[in-house]
Amino acid sequence: MKTIKNIVILVYIASIFAACSNNEDPIVINEEEVITTVRATLVPQNGGATIILESKDLDGDGPNEPVITVSGALDKNKTYAATLEILNETESPADNVTLEILEEAVDHQFFFSFTNNIATATYTDQDSNGNPVGVKFNVLTGSAGAGSFTIILRHEPNKAATGVNTGDISNAGGATDLQITFDITVI
């Protein structure tokens, strides 16, 4: 019986010790996978001004809305060679997420859409299966007008589904990793 009492007493003492745990401050986490910045650089073929479209959201999933900038208007009836840059600028130096996407190119695809028929987009790159990725693409502007340009990145889309490899998102499925809309004008 005495041993039992001793056990109980020991347990009490142990619990008091356990209660006096360390009081260190936790380590800050800067999210590794957050995308803060999406930049599309549109270089016109046969001369003209390079256009840069950028969306930046430095607080990630925080309440601040992304800041969207468009460097200027696009020229009508012109082909632009476009390249996407995806960055995490909460880290320093900024983490280039584009490389990670390209490493897993078969599991990622960008989709582009324009309103008011102001332009169309075509893929100029391929993953290892010969399907489009969309880090590089061409933008062909139509006649003058204004509208919006939306870029969507889908993770694990079904690239074999009807229309997906020509840029139709309707059957793509997967989860959305990025979705940005730029208001642009064509003059």
Binding site: K5, N23, I29, P63, P66, G173, T176
Partner: protein, 800 residues
């Protein structure tokens, strides 16, 4: 066997009843089980000095007339109880309440009994016994508890099942297992109780906060799981249950073995293994919904009437797949999911569990010791330690692919002491003290901002409860409790979030560090909680009894209500807690009516629960990120009124055919906003016909119909969002409820003797016989997929 003894005892009592003297005093009493308060039928009551016998009746009552004044030496004995000797000084007609230590009748206990029992004789308590628990051996605690009218569940798929008592769940329901309050991050709606149902031999559900011994914050109720009791004889017994099922193509295996000695030493061990692949709805495979579960427990101790101890350890590891198509990127994906009636990902059946998934390990160790002091009572001291390790894996890319997105470790220590003054049989008191410490650690290696911060939490509680037998037919319970909670957290907030929540003015003193875009803050909160309980039970006559209960309970906000902050990837929503939360207070009044005859058992329970500062979470607009728009789910508070009725009616039609109806209806009102409360279960009714033939290998067959109404009372929390791909504004319908549904289930079993001490029960169960397509309002995956289709189960239950 029991019958024979009863007849013998009856004979004896008849024989001795004619043994009259001049004396005219009457000695009456009631014999109940020491542990659960159930009546003990057929106990022999022997008066040593006058050599008189009688036996307790069906309700545990007995009466011996014509006794002389003076000291009575009374000996109570029963086939499955420890013999007890009591001295009574008889000076007038006397009524007394006696308890016996009832040994396990575990291997042959009968179906659910709805009666006042457990630690509190007046509460709305319902007991599930071994036969029901065994049937659910391959499933969840939450599934088994739905056998109790008024208990439903809130689900994430079909393997994460949280019990809901009268519309309340998570932190509002206390789960006790072998005397230990489970600490397993119960605040989260997608955190299933980390408990293997097979560790319990008996489960009691107490509705409302009328069991203050366990805690003062059980606004919903308390679920008490008790392992098998030691038998005070030299024995070695065990059981093995093997269940196979077609839906999920899986199996469950449970085995237990117990050894006990006459001197009171006992040891038992239990283990359970479960493995399921993808489950199926009637029309498609629910991709990535498999389950792997391993559980182990061991218990040893010494049990004597005067003193004893118990050592207990349990280990449980669950790997749970979450429906693949419920992983969505942003609000447009959610809109697509709601509008499509099929999940976006349907692959071939597989046992592989990929992300999104949960891996949860729970360990519990406890030691307790009790000692009885003659003519005073029983002292109990207990210490327990629990460790809960929760990993949640999301679909991630690159180097983080195999890293969990959530990695929380919760460790808890608790010390409980109580003293029960039970020397006077018509009034017993219990006083107790509880001290607990808890530490939560969120591992930063996840690379994902913490949803729940690091914190230390201290709790202290004192309670006193009393039970008074006012007369032959009336019982009174009274209890008070005070709890002090202190939480000290260290949490990072985005500076933008801190300002958006308007914490700048009120909480600027909490900031202890500046980390570029984030603040490190140190919230410290203290809460004082008072709770009280009052219960009266009154037996009007042999058939009718009424119960009245009142409980005041208060609950401090849990870590997610206070601190949630950020994108919950698995739910594609931004969840925001509120540092301004204060404790919620419930006033619950309830009444029950019992009607009991040989053929009919009817139990009607009514309750009304008024909750001030009721904390709940609901959609509140959207926020734009670079991934697109996300719905914001905000923790809010309001004044809530809940009321409802639960009915359980059992009717014997013939000796072999019986009918059972269980119906529950509940209504929840948000008083401050004059609308309905969110997430209130719909009315449901279960009707079943059973056939039993004991002569034919104890054959049972049961056909059950379960009808769940459409919940028409819900708040409109729909919101509009702009969808760029279609260039349009779309209404996101997150609040509409699914249609009513009707399920048919069938169960049959028979028991065969293999040898003197071994028998096997073979059972076949078919659930959702009609393969009905349905979705349940309280399943969080209802936006994405249908619920389970038809399932055939075959169960072999060996007892030896």
């Amino acid at each position: 066997m029991t019958q024979k003894i009863f007849l013998c005892a009856l004979f004896c009592s008849l024989f001795f009843s004619g043994y009259a003297q001049d004396c005219s005093y009457t000695f009456k009493g009631i014999v109940t089980d020491y542990h659960d308060g159930t009546s003990i039928f057929g106990a022999t009551i022997y008066l040593k000095n006058s050599d008189k016998y009688t036996t307790s009746d069906y309700q545990g009552k007995f009466e011996i007339k014509n006794l002389c004044k003076g000291e009575l030496q009374v000996i109570f004995s029963h086939i499955s109880c420890e013999t007890k000797e009591v001295l009574i000084n008889l000076t007038e007609d006397t009524f007394k309440d006696f308890t016996l230590e009832h040994h396990i009748e575990d291997l042959k206990e009968v179906s659910i009994t709805s009666a006042a029992s457990a630690k509190n004789k007046t509460a709305q308590a319902t007991v599930l016994k071994t036969d029901v628990i065994d049937k659910y051996s391959s499933q969840n605690l939450g599934d088994a508890l739905k056998n109790i009218s008024g208990v439903s569940s809130v689900n994430t798929g079909n393997t994460i099942v949280k019990p809901m008592i009268n519309g309340l769940h998570s932190s509002r329901v206390i789960l006790m297992t072998n005397g230990v309050r489970l600490q397993d991050q119960e605040w989260g709606i997608e955190h299933a109780p980390n408990i293997d149902i097979n560790t319990a031999e008996k489960i009691t559900v107490i509705k409302g906060a009328n069991a203050l011994e366990f805690g003062g914050d059980a606004i919903g109720g308390v679920i008490v799981l008790e392992p098998n009791r030691a038998i005070l004889k030299d024995s070695l017994y065990g059981k093995s249950i093997l269940t196979g099922q077609t839906n999920g193509l899986g199996f469950s295996f449970h085995s237990s073995i117990s050894k006990s000695t006459k001197k009171g030493w006992y040891v038992n061990a239990k283990t359970t293994l479960k493995k399921y692949g993808d489950f199926e709805s009637p029309n498609y495979v629910l991709t990535n919904t498999g389950l792997n579960s391993k559980a182990f427990s061991v218990q040893t101790g010494l049990k004597k009437f005067k003193s004893g101890f118990n050592l207990y350890y349990t280990y449980l590891k669950n790997e749970i797949g979450i429906l693949k198509s419920s992983h969505i990127g942003n609000i447009e994906d959610l809109v697509n999911a709601i509008n499509s009636n099929k999940p976006t990902v349907v692959n071939d059946f597989s046992y592989t569990i990929n992300a999104p998934k949960q891996e949860v390990t729970h360990q519990l160790a406890k030691a307790d010791f009790y000692k009885r002091y003659k003519k005073l009572g029983k002292l109990k001291v207990q210490y327990d330690y629990q460790n809960n390790q929760r990993l949640e894996f999301d679909i991630r890319v690159g180097a983080d692919k195999d890293k969990p997105a959530i990695d929380l470790n919760l460790s808890s220590h608790a010390v409980n002491t109580s003293f029960e003054f039970d020397s006077e049989s018509n009034q017993t008191y219990k006083v107790g003290f509880m001290g607990a410490y808890q530490n939560n650690f969120a591992d930063p290696n996840t690379g994902v901002r913490r949803l729940i911060p690091d914190y230390d939490k201290y709790d202290l509680g004192v309670f006193t409860i009393g039970n008074f037998i006012l007369n032959d037919n009336t019982n009174l319970d009274l209890g008070f409790r005070y709890d002090f909670n202190y939480i000290n957290a260290k949490k990072f907030y985005f500076k933008s979030r801190w300002s958006e929540r308007n914490y700048d003015n009120e909480f600027s003193n909490l900031i202890i560090g500046d980390f570029n875009t984030q603040w490190l803050v140190n919230p410290e909160f203290k809460y004082h909680n008072f709770s009280a309980s009052l219960g009266v039970s009154h037996e009007l006559n042999q058939q009718n009894a009424i119960f009245l209960n009142y409980a005041l309970a208060s609950r401090a906000p849990n870590p997610s209500e206070l601190f949630s902050d950020g994108l919950h990837h698995s739910a594609a929503r931004i969840e925001l807690g509120d540092l301004r939360m204060t404790q919620e207070t419930s006033n619950r009044a309830s009444t029950s009516y019992h009607f009991n005859t040989e053929k009919t058992t009817l139990l009607v329970e009514l309750f009304f629960n008024h909750i001030r500062n009721f904390m709940y979470i609901e959609p509140n607009g959207t926020e734009q990120t670079i991934r697109g728009a996300f719905p914001v789910w905000l923790y809010k508070r309001t004044t809530a009124n809940l009321f409802g009725i639960d009915i359980n009616w059992q009717q014997k039609i013939t000796d072999q055919i019986n009918f059972n109806n269980k119906t529950s209806f509940i209504r929840g009102k948000d008083i401050d906003n004059n609308r309905d409360l969110i997430d209130i279960p719909a009315a449901r009714t279960q009707n079943s016909f059973g056939y039993t033939n004991k002569k034919w290998y104890q054959f049972n067959a049961n056909l059950e119909s379960e009808f769940v109404f459409k919940q028409n009372l819900f708040p409109d929390t729909n919101f509009e969002v702009f969808i760029p791909t279609t260039n349009s504004n779309v209404l996101v319908d997150v609040s509409s409820t699914p249609n009513s549904y009707h399920l048919l289930n069938f169960n049959t079993d028979a028991t065969f003797k293999l040898s003197q001490k071994t028998n096997v029960t073979i059972g076949i169960t078919v659930t959702n016989i009609l393969n009905t397509n349905y979705r349940e309002y309280l399943n969080r995956l209802r936006y994405f997929a249908d619920d389970l289709g038809r399932n055939y189960l075959l169960q072999l239950n060996f007892k030896y």
